[in-house]
Amino acid sequence: MSASIEIAGVSKIYDGGVRAVDTIEIDIRQGEFFSLLGPSGCGKTTTLRIIAGFESPSDGAIRIDGADITHVPAHKRDMGMVFQNYALFPHRTVAENVAFGLRMRGIDKQAIAAKVKAALAMVELSGLEDRRPAQLSGGQQQRVALARAIVIEPRVLLCDEPLGALDKKLRQQMQFELKQLQKTLGLTLVFVTHDQEEALAMSDRIAVMNCGRVEQIGTPVEIYDQPLTRFVADFIGDTNIFRGERVTSDAGPALAAGHGLFLALPASAAGTSLLSVALRPEKISLSSGDTETAAAASGARGTIESTNFLGGAVLYHIALDSGHRVLAQQPNAGAVFVPGRTVKLDWKAADLVVLKD
């Protein structure tokens, strides 16, 4: 039966005073696909290792279904884990690898054989029971690691960048399969990744981490559309960030971004005088600027500097007349603006997100 996890004020301070994890608070719900997302060195793997019991926190507590397990050794935690390099036992066959956890639990041989068979069937590896890990492809090793972790029916499944070593196509397939499996089994799954696309695609909720701290916790849509901090806005997807002073004009509050660029702020944007706002490239619409558009939208003028054709969309690097450089993404509708072309940029004030620094 899968469980909820509570990470209560956990810190990890290494010898020499390095704070790998700094008083983090995360509640992971039962049956949830939860991602820890951040750049390398942000503390996400350390957090996962603390949950698994491989590291003990310097401060704070880990609770599973409300029970404090901070001092329970790793082998009594009943958690499955998929390691970054899979960590399959090279001296054992596929079947023996999968059976390992069951054997440690003292389950009788016939039951083990049946469970191993079922687990291997679930990850579509039937028939490879007697191979050694070295004889398998990366994708197959990945599936063995997954089978080995879920066959013990863990309360929580922990994954440390499990798909990092796979090529793109296989990774997408495994993302889908892992998500399916998690849903079917109703597993609580904690997924560590530095790949924001992967986290957005798979997670129910995401904790974005930076420098040992949690910057924001939310659903993929919340994280993408309402980033709380400058770091989150910058780390997740492409974004344009403007920084300046809040001023009040006749039309309402605005941001003076310098060099004569004024951005109308959403009515909700209260707060301090100096602030940063984020604007996603795809919220900007480009027009040739020949015809005057309705004045309701806020906007600017600029010159196309370069064009990245992405297939389904086109990404433009644009230099505004004020000197700011922005990214704008348009769906591929056939016509592509060429570099050097002057364009008009429009967006809705409501699409600006005010950030905490």
């Binding site: 698994a52 082998h75 935690r77 499955g80 390099n85 960590a87 001296h91 390992f100 440690m104």
Partner: protein
Amino acid sequence: MPPFAPQTPSQEFSGALPAATSLRDRQRASAQSRRPAAGKRIRAGRALYLTVNIAVLIFLLAPIAIVVVFALNPTPFIQFPPVGVSLRWFQKFFAARDFMHALVFSLEVAMLTTACATLLGGCAALAIARGNLPGARIVLAVMLSPLMLPAILTGLALFQAYVLLDVGRPLWGLVAGHTLVTIPYVVRTTLAVLHNFDLRLEEAARNLGASPGRTFFEVTLPLVKPGVLAGAIFAFIVSFDQFPVSLFLVSPGNETLPITLFNYLKFDLDGTIGAASVVSILLAFLVVLALDRTVGLRAYVKL
């Protein structure tokens, strides 16, 4: 085909290119036309490579070949070319009670030494690699020091110690001496494996419910086994033909084979020495072979 031989020797020097070659072929061909001597240089390099290898092999194997010739040659002195083939020296060797006693005694000492050195050396390596010991480097230097000291000094020092302790020259004393000089081999080979050990394998085992003790026996030990075994083989062979340490520590009537051979050499020089050497070589070879068969050495180490 040798890995560095050009794959299309016929095209190598031709300036004209076939009309329909792949881009890769064309790139390679143009690279070759810029360096027309490349093929010749490769062939010269290969000849040099083979020559050096063969020379090294001859250097290593010639003494063994001479010993074998000596053992099979019926004349009672070293003679070349050999005049015939006979087993008379083997007969003499196996019929001599002294030699047989020494051979059995040597095997006994080598086996005891191997057991002690493997256990102690293996544990020491584990402690050095994993124990977070203060001064692990110093401990390692001490463990390896018998390799750097002349073994004759080790033998002499032990001899004096035993005299001071007034314990005589017991079997355990000899085994202790041999263990001392063979531990470094086990420590070295075990450490080499431990350094490359992926600690996540142990974490995976613990995560799957294995206690620290079970993790050691289920995962750590099987994976460091090749290093320990390689060390054990070295220990056996080094002990089996150990001379300088044994010289001080054997007691009359209980001598190891190298000592008996040395004593024999002082008065006689005939093919029996050669026969004894051949038997020693074959025994060492058998030990390696037996280990390979029983624990599947080849699966781990590329010998």
